[in-house]
Symmetry: C2
Subunit: 258 residues, 2 copies
């Protein structure tokens, strides 16, 4: 039987709240067995970009990553946030290493081709280096990934943290039974967006499609859940969504099953 590997993705809003993020790190550190952490950068990158006088370019609600933005993302995600998470975990007794996709060629992507829109330095994931990640896990080291991938052309590229977590979970399922945890500011998938306590505790594909048809699942949640079901079809055993209490299974949350 394969041993269980837990892949946890932490959301931006959680990172921004220092006290809650410290709670998150404690819960994460206390999770048993091999694990991986994936993080974005919240609004820190936008804050730093604004202070540096760089304009944040958006198109139809999506960020355009120009060269300046990519510099800021590299500084904030792979530098400031990554290394502070690692130091925080070390202090809690969990050995960790902060990585971006270029490190050990761990997350290889392809720069998104320019069609109607040029998204700039954005990468779509092509390959995960399972051997390298496994070698760290075997040494009881937690790989901590920032939302940056690497293209074979030598570029570091902005890459969605949800996607990195999903692709790592899928790829690692060759060697482990993988569980994917999406931690964010809500308690789970809500049946009523206005009611934080209306958590759907178990969501399968049938129920998901029903909720999509009834337009109960909101815009922001759609791509996340689409990725979840796609991950389940590609080797991931279970997916959980909820706040950081989820990591110790001591809070209500959503469990996604096929």
């Amino acid at each position: 039987m394969k041993s269980v590997l837990k892949i946890v993705k932490t959301g931006g809003k959680l990172i921004e709240d220092k006290a809650r993020f410290q709670e998150f790190l404690k819960d994460f550190s206390a999770m048993e067995g091999p694990k991986v952490l994936v993080h974005g950068g919240g609004n820190f990158a936008t804050e730093v970009a604004t202070k540096l006088g760089y304009e944040t370019k958006m198109l139809d609600g999506r960020r355009i990553t120009d060269a300046n933005s990519m510099q800021v993302i590299t500084m904030v995600y792979a530098g400031l946030i990554s290394k502070n998470i690692v130091a925080g975990l070390q202090k809690l007794g969990s050995n960790a290493v902060g990585l971006c996709g270029a490190d050990g060629k761990s997350v290889i992507s392809r720069k998104r081709p320019v069609k109607e829109v040029d998204y700039g330095f954005v990468g779509d994931i092509e390959e995960i280096n399972v051997a390298f990640i496994s070698s760290l896990l075997e040494q009881d080291i937690i790989p901590v990934f920032s939302a940056i991938s690497y293209s074979e052309e030598g570029e570091i590229l902005n890459t969605n943290a949800d996607s990195i977590a999903a692709e790592i979970s899928k790829a690692m399922s060759r060697e482990y039974e993988t569980e994917l945890y999406y931690c964010f500011e809500k308690k789970g998938v809500l049946a009523d967006a206005q009611d934080d306590d209306s958590v759907i505790e178990v969501l399968d594909k049938e129920k998901y499609q029903e909720l999509v048809e009834k337009k109960i699942i909101s815009d922001g949640m759609l791509p996340k859940l689409h990725n979840c079901f796609q991950a389940l079809e590609n080797g991931v055993s279970t997916i959980y969504l909820g706040d950081s209490g989820l990591l110790q299974k001591n809070s209500i949350h959503t469990k996604i099953v096929e």
Copy 2:
């Protein structure tokens, strides 16, 4: 017989010059055998700090690292510069991982005690994690260290890159024959500071002391050379100083021997 491990420290001014730094990476990538790279951040950190509106505090020519400075150093050294070096090496076919001292608890330090001066978030190295560095080298991965260490109190601390290179060289000499390379903008130690071609090709302790007494060796070079001789006494086999041509031994340079 132990195999040879090369530890290369690259200077700030070299990093600032894009074309020369690309040459440096090529020369470094072409060096045979296991190797480690240590880098600082040049003036980038000061530039970013200034743009962010943070004042750089100096006392008697030495930088005081306050909380804001430490944030900027973490962003610039461990983020921007580290990850761009790693991407550059990957493109040249050299597998690498960008680390700070907190990663894998690779460089443990103690926050400098406050005596007459409070240097702020500055660490003096206490221990190098030889097992972790060796595990990367055994996988043909180049550890790339930024000038940041980690204290057991959970802090990430600004730490002199020359010292990190020297301490790694000394510690790794338990398992390897270590050669230490200091690459900077000069061709080596100069007999005449005004004449770039007056390189002293071989420098032993006796000659060094003679040059110190004659005040031929300038202020900036003194602590560097002091560290060199201290490293030689603690297991390092040879130390080289020069520009990046040094890495392929195709330029004149200084060799330091006991």
